[in-house]
């Protein structure tokens, strides 16, 4: 058992990080499902979330968990405003090539936000205060309780979102739009307003992930790039637009990463997910969960 314990520790670590990536990937999935676009500034909402929670907990001296909720609220509002300002022309037939427009405008937004953060907050790496201190001893392995709490909150937010999507009126309306925008508009659903809400919801999940991982890693302007790329890999892996796919995909990426770190080399941690992406594109280009049905 003792020989296996480092591997087990890595595995649990992978699952914890994976559950937080799942939050980000689910955010991307919600945006993709409702608006049919890939948000290339997703990593920057992650960064904004981390900075907001850092300032709430460090500068204002409040409890880090409160910082997470402020971060969720702030990124939700910023996301909604950005959708209203930049993405509404997509649905008013003012744009000729929608894919291209959405890609370039969200990428431009990402360039702007990264460099704004560099100008405003400076390039320095900041370490956010941990959620809680101390370790949890499970006999075979020990875990830092801050990480475990982060994962528990991530799973809580994840379950809340799933509840909203599956059980509430808002979720039903979002699912309706994701299936057929015109038909749901005819049935009296305000697709425009719900589009903003969906983008805000997606953005605030990235913000929550940032606020949760800020204390684990460090907070700096380009911190969002690698997690964003991992969530891109996850949504391709789990079939774009599938919620189930996003959740299982993120766990798979977490496991593969931790096993790669354990068995091969820790320096290449961020590379393993790309290998999965290539394999998926080669053998199962539509992802593991088939088509892009939103509620499967």
């Amino acid at each position: 058992m003792n020989e296996l314990s480092p591997m087990l520790a890595q595995l649990v670590n992978g699952l914890i990080i994976g559950s937080i990536y799942g939050l980000m990937a689910l955010g991307l999935t919600i945006i993709f499902g409702v608006l049919k676009i890939v948000n290339f500034s997703h990593g920057e909402f992650y960064m904004l979330g981390a900075y907001v929670s850092y300032f709430v907990s460090q500068t204002m001296g409040l409890h880090p968990i409160l910082g997470i909720f402020v971060a969720i609220l702030a990124t939700f509002i910023i996301g909604m405003l950005i959708e209203k300002a930049l993405l509404t022309p997509l649905f008013e037939n003012k744009v000729e090539r929608k894919d291209e427009y959405a890609l370039l405008i969200t990428f431009g937004l990402s360039l702007f936000l990264i460099n704004m953060a560099l100008a405003v907050f400076g390039p320095f790496q900041k370490s956010a205060p941990a959620l809680t201190s101390g370790v949890i001893n499970l006999g075979v392995i020990t875990l830092s309780s801050g990480k475990v709490l982060a994962a528990v909150i991530a799973i809580g937010v994840l379950l809340c979102t799933l509840f909203i999507i599956n059980k509430t009126w808002l979720g039903t309306a979002l699912r309706a739009i994701s299936q057929d925008r015109d038909a749901s508009a005819i049935m009296g659903i305000n697709a425009k307003r719900l589009g903003s809400i969906a983008f805000g919801l997606g953005a605030c999940m990235a913000g929550a992930a940032g606020a949760l991982l800020g204390p684990v890693f460090l907070v700096y302007p380009i911190m969002g790039t690698v997690p964003a790329i991992k969530s891109f890999v996850i949504i391709v892996l789990g079939s774009m637009g599938s919620i189930k796919g996003a959740i299982y995909g993120s766990l798979l990426v977490g496991i593969v990463e931790s096993m790669g770190v354990f068995l091969l080399s820790p320096a290449y941690r961020d590379v393993y997910s790309f290998l999965i992406l290539i394999l998926i594109l080669l053998f199962k280009p539509k992802g593991l969960f088939g088509g892009a049905q939103w509620n499967n």
Partner: protein, 319 residues
Amino acid sequence: MEQLEKKMVLGLLLVALVLPLFANEYTLHIVILACFYVILSSSWNLLAGYSGQVSFAHMALASLGAYTSGLLSLKLGIHPVISMLCGSLVTGLVGMLIGILTLRMSGSYLALTTIAFSEIYRIVISLEYEITNGQVGLSVPGLFGESGSKVTYYYTAIALVVMIVLIGIQKLVKSDFGLTIRAIREDETAAAAMGTKVVRHKVIVFAISSAIAGLAGAFLAHYTLLVSPEMATITEMGIVISMSVIGGLGTFIGPLLGGVSLSLISEYVKEFGNYHLMVFGLILVLVMRFSPMGIAGVLASFGTRKRKETSVQQIKKEV
């Protein structure tokens, strides 16, 4: 628009010809950098503007060309001219592989895979310090021997490369092949229904534009005598995209104007810190939102308005 475009290209050509007579070495250095960006933004425009395939790996591919050429000339002692061509070839092949992997699917897949490729590529070359010398960068031999102060030589060489690349791209776009890729951009399904081999055409365009990027990267490597992972960052990619989009996607003159103006601006405001990148990002977003044709579109609408006014005046005279 065509008239205006011709006049501007001629004007730029004239400036380029007389520049070495008046400019000092520093100015020429900046112009060489501007030429590098013109090649990159024009070739990215061939891909994104004319065929509608948005790739985020263009700078990573340029850096791949730079490393291939640098390593070949350093380790095997091949003359930089040949190693640059090899670098370009390798980049074209890698571009083709990425294309085959992703271009079967819809547009977002290419963007998702290339952004992942670009970041992973950067991580790998920063880590493999035994081959690439890591973050420090690799010193490579120069294109024109050892001694410095040969800026005019480099200037002439890159000016030739720019001209060949631009003429080549223009010829390609105006040919039947160019018509086909523009048809694919407008409506893939319709183009496929007309019997066009959509995927094959997209892969070829991707390979060509990657090969051009590789050539540009290799040239820069043998000019600055250094290859570092810096070239492959997402920020650099953002600069090139800003140049094409602000200049005007899908136009010939756009990337040329965008490349020259943005690289000049970023060189002269460098001392004030990195604010120019924030401004470029903001302008990129605003251009996409309010004037998707960029500077070229503004110029074109200006031209047509002028023509309309003159025709209105003519009619008034006749009446």
